[in-house]
Amino acid sequence: MTLFLIRRLQQSIVVLLVMSFVVFAGVFAIGNPIDSLISPEATEQEREKAISQLGLDQPLYAQYFVFLKNVSRGELGTSFVHNRPAIKLILERLPATLELTVAALVFAIIVGIPLGLLAGLNTESLIGRGILSSSILFFSLPTFWVGLMMILLFSINLGWLPTTGRGETVEIWGIHASFLTLDGLRHLAMPAVNLGLYPLALIIRLTASGTQETIPLEYMKLAKAKGLRRRRIIFIHLLKNIMIPIVTVIGLQFSVILAFAVVTESIFAWPGMGRLIIDSINLLDRPVIVAYLLVTVVVFLIVNILVDILYSILDPRVRLGGM
């Protein structure tokens, strides 16, 4: 276990280094920041002085090392627009985005696994086929459009739910959370469901196909022949064995949802980092874009390690040390 963790951390650091270089090259080296930083009236000498002051006359790898040195000290530059350290801007908004992402996943799991089981156990019935067909529909629904239609229905026509913001938040360990107040939950409901529809469809389909493929297997027949109760067969023998692909997908989906949160946050004006990144892209606020990408990469890497650990708990055949 410890060996596994050390190895994974090493791998993660390599990935992080590669990504930081890609991000650096992509965001900083393409285009010329000088044009936006120096007034066009500046003389040739002033220009050259500014370029050497900023280190832009150095070769790319030298610039990259300077960038790395700053990153290791937690300095990712100051936002051109907000005039505050970029990393602070991102980290302030990270909890809101994580809350939304986790809420969407929880929704997808709680609704998806029972529906998937139901569909998988009754493939030929109307219910089963209905669930599977509608899961394809969820799969195809454009997230942003559904968000708009939800606002139209629940906020404008019915007036049940608020359209924007996080609502009242509670502070725990210095982090604001919406899910602990009624008002916050009302604000969280629509964005979370909106963001959760895609993973919901995936979980339904995976659970259903896993169930379908597992039922004819020998150990399921044995369980039935032993006269075990149906509930025990389904929840212990079946569910435990189909959980492995589902956990993988949930783990992979976490990063997908985190990325798609950008869309949902834009629609519901959820004050997370996704909204910030769209604004920053439109305003070419480079330090914020870099900070967002690096923070996202770190979150992905952590989630991937957690998923691997969860594997070994679910499937004793997976031995982490040997990887």
């Binding site: 990935v15 590669v18 990504m19 991000v23 992509g26 965001v27 393409i30 285009g31 067909s133 394809i136 529909l137 799969f139 195809s140 629904l141 454009p142 997230t143 942003f144 459009w145 708009l148 239609m149 606002i151 139209l152 404008i156 379908q212 493929e213 990063s255 997908v256 985190l258 990325a259 798609f260 950008v262 869309v263 834009s266 629609i267 990144i277 769209i278 892209i281 439109n282 874009i289 990408l293 996202t296 990469v297 992905f300 991937n304």
Partner: protein
């Protein structure tokens, strides 16, 4: 089937496919959508982006209203007097073009990389797969978003972003299949004939690796269309001169609070119908092609 008859694989595929009515319906729907997209400009009552053909007098009309010259705006008009049906047909055209072009390019590039990687093997294979892993480690939406953040808006840039965010998927799938195929006897035969490498790869190996790709490639077109729509909706995708469905919805978003729901509802519905019909067809194809689902 009581009498075992000789069937070509294609005929068997068709006869199994049509067993499910929803799948047949989805296929017909898809044909209709594609026809509309390709023949669209000949069918609509106006070119919604020709300023001579629209008039501000007819702006913001509700669905079903009549125009000055006696036509009906079945889905209403926008704030500039554009017929929404025409705008949707034109938008559908752009969305589908971008989806198909980037989908096909991603498949071609991914397949070539994957198959060469598998055939060559060794260090090059290792290196290529590292790059693939790096791409797969990130959600395609994020990759596309980063690309567009760096490149700026534009149809060519959106296609590039979509291809970059998808190709690795295909490279991984094809490599997996190709590695299994490489060891088979017909490959030994091809090598034994001392055929040139490129011929072995593209004439012998490639055709045998395509089957698992068909379903994924089909779904990928649907995914590309959705991805493009999302990016355009956020204002980082296509420019306003190329109003895809995503941009139409973004436009309608501004009017949602004033009650002109149709401006965002119908473009989205068209998008949904397009994407859902592709996915339903692909889903049925997978069921038919997957030997594990056979009873």
């Amino acid at each position: 089937m009581s009498i075992p008859s000789v069937q070509t694989p294609f005929k068997r595929f068709i006869s199994e496919y049509v067993e499910r009515k929803t799948a047949v319906f989805a296929f017909l729907l898809l044909v209709f959508v594609l026809l509309t997209a390709f023949l669209g400009p000949f069918l609509t009552m106006q070119n919604p982006y020709d300023l001579a053909q629209i008039t501000i007098m007819e702006s913001g009309l509700a669905p079903g209203s009549e125009s000055i010259d006696g036509n009906t705006f079945w889905l209403g008009t926008d704030d500039q007097g554009r017929d929404l049906v025409s705008a949707i047909v034109f938008g559908l055209r752009i969305s589908i073009m971008v989806g198909i072009i980037s989908g096909v390019l991603a498949v071609v590039i991914g397949t070539s990389v994957g198959i060469v990687s598998a055939y060559v093997g060794g260090r090059i294979d290792n290196l290529i797969m590292r790059v693939v892993d790096l791409f797969l480690g990130f959600p395609s939406f994020l990759i596309a978003l980063i690309c567009l953040a760096v490149l700026g808006r534009g149809a060519d840039k959106v296609v590039l972003a979509l291809v970059l965010s998808q190709w690795a998927n295909f490279a991984r799938i094809v490599r997996g299949v190709a590695i299994a195929e490489r060891e088979k006897e017909y490959m030994d035969a091809a090598r034994g004939l001392a055929l040139p490498k490129s011929r072995i790869i593209f004439r012998h190996l490639l055709p045998n690796c395509l089957a698992p790709l068909i379903v994924v490639a089909t779904m990928n077109v649907a995914f590309s269309i959705t991805l493009e729509a999302s990016l355009s909706f956020l204002g980082v995708g296509l420019p306003i001169t190329q109003p895809s469905l995503g941009l139409l919805i973004a436009n309608g978003y501004e009017y949602i609070l004033t009650g002109k729901y149709w401006l965002s509802f119908y473009p989205g519905l068209s998008l949904l119908i397009t994407v859902a019909s592709i996915n339903l067809v692909a889903d049925r194809m997978r069921d038919v092609l997957n030997p594990r689902m056979k009873k």
